[in-house]
């Protein structure tokens, strides 16, 4: 018994979620019920969240998993994000009764298992397995509305390109193994510089991570895949894998006080390019999902600034920014999915679709506005605060080029965020009448909560900061 506990406790959240997956499968086998599946998955996610503190206090250590506060905190952020996405997704699929939809929450749950594995893993084996579990689950989620050719195409693109990036990543891991004989992150950390093989290996690992983070030059797939995926899947895609990978990178970078100069150079170039390219590409875009995709490219550029800004300030800036980013992005995609009908041929993702939204659904429009303001970094919203912190951390670490780019790209970015906000206040195109989704109570509650978080913590961020501090510095 003790043996079992010591086996389970260090990976308790994974255990809980796996259990939930099994139960959900069994439930589906007995009787297909969307509601029951969603509830089981929800219970699994919440259970995993509750299991986190138990795991953190574990005396035993699983061989390939971390128990540092940083990993636990990131796992918590992933689980919270997943719960929100699950609620939004449940409301999105609610009316799609002609299609079997029980697999969707399951895929989401399995994907979250993968992401938590990545966040917790310190060995390349769980990192790799987790990442690929996440990827395969996401392909299923992207292609889930299989009656939409766009969704299938997006899934295919993602499959091929992520397959390629996984192969490159694996090549890097293989070279690490070949060079050092170890598959742990520590092998890279401590052996760097001793073996020639490690340099290209590290480069290839950056490629793999960069693909999942969608920083320039590995951003090329983002707009197409986001645009093709159904809104909840896009929300998942835009947040979960990124948080998971950021967790790994942060653990790598924050463990040492200094960042190797070549790595720093690569990250600086990627950061500058991401901020500029992301914001420039979004300028005249008419598709909201693409806008959010491009915006996420730019936001990840800001994340790189926070990652490069070493020290306590950079650390808290990173955590704050990641929390802000995931909440905000889910809010934006949540609004899109609330407005969309799953069974239709496309989501309500054109700028034209939300024209006049303020007069139809002021609350929903207000939340989308808040989310966009947050992404743009305009004061009352949480995003301003997060950007402030990142900038302060950057200034503190003398990242002049990055900070200058950040300022310039923010100005460019403002244009397209405001364009969307303005569109919401304009009179709707009467010619372009379309089916708009009914709003469900839980979905609305989730979006409303997100809106409250963005505004509330934007004005009064102290509680959030204390929370993050309590979680990450415990």
């Amino acid at each position: 018994m003790i043996g079992l506990v010591s086996l389970i406790q260090p990976v308790a959240p994974l255990f809980v979620m796996t259990l939930a997956t099994g139960s959900a499968l069994a439930a589906i086998a007995m009787r297909r019920s969307f509601l029951i599946t969603v509830l089981i998955c929800l219970v699994g996610l919440i259970g995993a969240l509750l299991a986190l503190p138990w795991m953190a206090h574990s005396a035993a250590v699983a061989p390939m998993f971390a128990d540092g506060a940083l990993s636990v905190g990131f796992a918590g952020v992933i689980l919270l994000t997943s719960i929100l996405i699950l609620v939004i997704a449940a409301s999105y699929w609610r009316d799609a009764t002609a299609e079997p939809r029980e697999e969707y929450p399951l895929l989401l749950l399995v994907g979250t298992i993968g992401a938590v594995t990545v966040a917790l893993g310190i060995n390349f084996i769980p990192l790799f397995i987790g990442l690929e579990t996440l990827t395969l689950a996401m392909i299923g989620m992207i292609a889930y509305p299989r009656w939409r050719p766009e969704a299938l195409e997006a899934a295919l693109k993602y499959l091929v390109l992520s397959g390629m990036s996984s192969a490159l990543l694996l090549l890097g891991l293989g070279l690490v193994d070949l060079a050092t004989g170890h598959l742990s992150l520590a092998a890279v950390q401590h052996a760097s510089g001793t073996a020639m093989l490690l340099l290209p290996a590290l480069g290839l690992i950056i490629v793999g991570a960069g693909f999942k983070l969608s920083v320039v030059p590995f951003h090329i797939w983002v707009p197409d895949v986001y645009a093709g995926a159904p809104a909840p899947s896009a929300a998942f895609l835009a947040t979960i894998p990124k948080i998971a990978v950021i967790a790994v990178v942060a653990r790598l970078l924050f463990a040492d006080a200094t960042i190797p100069p070549t790595l720093g150079l690569a990250m600086t170039i990627a950061g500058v390019a991401s901020m500029l390219v992301g914001n420039l590409l979004a300028l005249l875009q008419q598709n909201l999902k693409r806008i959010l995709g491009y915006s996420s490219i730019a936001q990840l550029g800001y994340v790189l600034v926070a990652l490069l800004a070493a020290g306590a300030l950079g650390r808290s800036a990173l955590l704050f920014f990641v929390a802000m980013y995931s909440v905000t992005v889910i809010g934006a995609f949540g609004v899109l999915s609330a407005l969309s009908v799953a069974e239709s041929d496309r989501d309500q993702d054109r700028v034209g679709d939300i024209r006049g939204l303020f007069w139809r659904h002021p609350l929903i429009a207000g939340i989308l506005t808040l989310a966009l303001l947050s992404l743009a970094g305009i004061p009352p919203a949480l995003g301003f605060m997060a950007k402030m912190y990142v900038m302060a951390a950057g200034v503190h670490s003398h990242l002049r080029v990055l900070i200058a780019t950040m300022v310039v790209s923010s100005v460019i970015g403002l244009f397209y965020y405001l364009r969307v906000i303005i569109a919401m206040t304009q009179a709707p195109d009467s010619a372009d009448a379309h089916a708009e989704g009914r709003l469900s109570l839980p979905g609305n509650a989730a979006i409303g909560l997100i809106g409250a978080v963005i505004l509330g913590f934007g004005i009064m961020p102290q509680p959030l900061l204390s929370l993050l501090k309590a979680v990450f510095h415990s």
């Binding site: 395969l136 091929v160 694996l170 193994d177 070949l178």
Partner: protein, 103 residues
């Protein structure tokens, strides 16, 4: 006496990987694109075997098994997507799957 060093098989793996990459970048037919990914994964799997050989640890083979795992999963999803897209992409031409793009 065996005097095989690790460089030669590792180079073989890299060459196979490169072939897969070439196939992926140049072929239009999606069957070949997916085949190329399999080639790349296979090559990487070989690389892990080589690493295991060099250091004498079973991790290489463990990774090999996981890569097989991934290759199978990815293949299944890729092929089923092809089946679904068949109606739209009559010749399985990857270039013609471009509804999603900057117009």
């Amino acid at each position: 006496m065996i005097n095989l060093s690790w460089q030669a098989p590792a180079s073989l793996a890299i060459i196979l990987f490169a072939l897969g990459l070439i196939g992926l970048i140049t072929r239009r037919n999606l069957i070949f694109v997916i085949l190329s990914i399999e080639v790349m994964l296979n090559a990487v799997a070989l690389l892990f075997i080589v690493a295991g050989m060099r250091w004498g640890h079973p991790d290489g083979q463990v990774m090999f098994i996981f890569i097989l795992n991934l290759a199978g999963g990815e293949l299944a999803l890729g092929l089923v997507l092809l089946l679904r897209l068949r109606a739209r992409i009559t010749t399985l031409d990857g270039d013609s799957a471009n509804i999603l793009r900057e117009s």
